[in-house]
Amino acid sequence: MSRDSSDGTAGSDASGGPAGPSPVEPDAVFDKGLQPERTLLAWRRTCLAFGVASLVGMRFTVEAMGILAVVVGVIGAGLAVLAYALAATGYRRAHHSLRGQGILARGGLPMLAGTAAVLVIGALCAGYLAIGLLGA
């Protein structure tokens, strides 16, 4: 479990650096620019934003809508936690395929799911606006 043992010497091409104990570090980073890692962090902050949005939305609608708001908010937060975990496995998979074959074997399904999730939040928001504005 020596994940962090690569101290900047491992580049994107694993042609064996002059220094270092082993010619090919078993689990070195793929890219000096840490692109897969930065992408993982971007997924994480997106999941965090979704989770917080769900819970804040729940907090502001619970008086008016009761148990419905709680159910929707908890489902939203749960999906955000699930996506957070999936982002971690996706990173591991991308890391291994990048280190192995040098290609990123990843399709657009996570993106479509994310887009759908944000559109669902938009629809809920529109419903909340409609109720509030028509009731006013």
Binding site: T39, A105, G114, V118
Partner: protein
């Protein structure tokens, strides 16, 4: 070389495998658009939840502008990701960012509506 079939066939049908770093950057741009969409929806929600301009008309107008901008950002996230990935695979120039201009104008308009609603 042919990996298992990847989801949007319209993206992965043609072209060569691009530099993975570019695909990852495209993915982060997509995620940034998603968060932008979420922020726009949060703006619409917050105006209503806090009854920010108490005048209902101005509040409705500003909220609806934010709602439309959020939807626009979500659509741009998906379509922009697809278009960029396609053009990375084809080696053609990347698509432009026309939606960015609309978003800027929309945020300014929404802010103006809130301000007018507060003081009118």
């Amino acid at each position: 070389m042919t990996a298992p079939r990847r989801f949007p066939a319209s993206v992965y049908r043609d072209g060569d495998e691009p530099d993975p770093r570019f695909s990852l950057a495209n993915e982060r741009t997509f995620l940034a658009w998603l968060r932008t969409a979420l922020a726009m929806y949060a703006g619409a929600f917050a105006l209503e939840a806090l009854a920010l301009p108490e005048a209902v008309g101005w509040r409705a107008a500003a909220s609806i502008v934010f709602l439309v901008l959020g939807t626009l950002a979500a659509v741009q996230a998906w379509l922009g990701w697809k278009a960029t990935e396609k053009s990375l695979r084809a080696g053609t120039p990347l698509p432009g960012l026309a939606v960015g201009g609309i978003l800027v104008i929309g945020v300014v308009v929404a802010a103006a509506l809130v301000t007018i609603g507060l003081y009118a």
